[in-house]
Amino acid sequence: MDKLASLLHTSPAIAWMVAKLIIVFGGVFSLAALWTWVERRGSAMIQDRIGPNRAALFGKIKILGLVQPLADGIKFFFKEDLVPHDANKALFWLAPFLALVPALMGFAVIPFGRSFVSGGQEYHLALLDPGNGMGLLYPLAIGGMAVYGVLVAAWSSNNKWSILGGMRASAAMVSYEIGMSLAVVTIFMTTGGYDPSEVISAQGHLPWAWNIVRQPLGFIVFFTCMFAETNRLPFDFAEGESEIVAGFNTEYGSMKFSLLALSEYCHLMTASALMATLYFGGWQVPFVKDPTVMLSVASFLVKMLFFAWVFVWIRWTLPRFRYDQLMRLGWKAMLPLSMVNLIFHAWRMSQGH
């Protein structure tokens, strides 16, 4: 790292930061692109179909159609980029970025591997070093920003279906945020801190000490709320293609649509990383006390990708909720449940556990 830094005429700290930026954002971005393929192939398999398997490099190398995202991307680039006549042009252009940036930013604070010492300097495998004072409050705050992407896209399209979709999606996101935050607060409380590295080290390497075992109720609430937060089925009220055409992205085409679609998958990745960190011990490897750096990264990736798969899996299992059902579930089930969870753990802590 020092050699690389001197080659680039920067300090090692900056070189390390840039490397991390490329790894994290590039990784999440390419995983999100890959996950569009996983979603399509997975859904096909679930429905006894085959899915896209014919896209091939140079017309020859098929590798299970894995280059499909690439083909999609090229296609999106060359599509005509229409802006509706009566759309609010500035906001219409801004919306895909407003959707994508928060989805990617949430990942910044999550440690994706254990910290290591090399050459007398400690390296942390997270974009923001532990002890930055924001901790896990940061992804929660950024997650709240994600509403703007959907809402601005919907509003600027000047299309009633879009506005309907955007409005109800943002309402859902806002109401589920409370249940989610209370579930996370319970973790902060039992951990005694809100830094992700603290949360991870408090969980330890033994699976039965992870938060999933300690707070299953909190996990269910958090998990459900994550579906509402990421606008995935069963709570995909932003899109709802059988009801409101294509919802908030009806008027979008070309690369702008691609960015909106990718932002959903980036959000999914961030959400699964959050779930792995909060409830499944982050980069901790089960039963291994001091894992190597690579092993911890692999463990984190496996957990994260598993949850990303569960997102896909659930999407193709459950039908969409009705809007009133969603609101009832959010306010009458998720919020009380997370409160019960909070109070129960507060009571347990007061009993000295």
Binding site: G42, A44, M45, R49, T317, L318
Partner: protein, 187 residues
């Protein structure tokens, strides 16, 4: 009185919603794994250009005009198929030929032109049923397509050679015996 719809009583386990979701996820993952570990050849989907469907017995596909071993056409130009055809896609012109031989029995009539308009044909199989000599068969080839309308007009030699590759027969483009000018019978 209308149909009485029975209300389903949900057990407390179903009311939690979490358990039914997990059951549903079990079903979908079963399908997923089953499909994942099924070899491509055994899946429901037939990946068309690479794999082709084996058509069932009695399928009515592209026609073939049958021939004798020496390559002479079995058709005797009786016009039965042309009459039977509901789509009126068959048109025949008959001719006579002199050289009687054993395989052809004693017929001395054959089609000079036998054309089927594949754009009109409805593959009903009436021509096959009408034929007294079993000379026209509707077989299993279903890939009847072309880039222009003219190439969908199948002539006598096209129809005689439609299944040569499948059967491993020779492709022919000439009758073994020449035709003779029409005899005029003096009354």
């Amino acid at each position: 009185m209308g149909v009485v719809v029975k209300k389903v009583e949900l057990s407390w386990l179903d009311r939690t919603y979490v358990w039914p979701v997990m059951v549903g996820m079990g079903i979908t993952i079963q399908h997923f794994l089953k499909q994942l570990f099924t070899p491509t050849a055994k899946r429901f989907t037939i990946q068309y250009p690479d794999m082709k469907k084996e058509m069932p017995e009695g399928y009515r596909g592209l026609h073939e005009l049958k021939r004798f071993e020496d390559g002479a056409i079995k058709c005797v130009a009786c016009f039965m198929c042309q009459e039977a055809c509901p789509a009126r896609c068959i048109s025949i012109e008959a001719e006579e030929f002199s050289d009687l031989n054993i395989t052809q029995g004693f017929e001395e009539k054959r089609p000079a032109k036998f054309s089927i308009d594949m754009l009109r044909c409805i593959y009903c199989g009436m021509c096959e049923e009408a034929c007294p000599k079993d000379a026209i068969w509707l077989r299993k080839d279903y890939e009847v397509a072309a880039y222009d309308r003219l190439s969908m007009q199948f002539g006598k030699w096209d129809l005689m050679n439609t299944y040569t590759e499948v059967d491993g027969k020779e492709s022919i483009s000439q009758d073994p015996t020449p035709s003779v000018p029409r005899r005029t019978i003096a009354l």
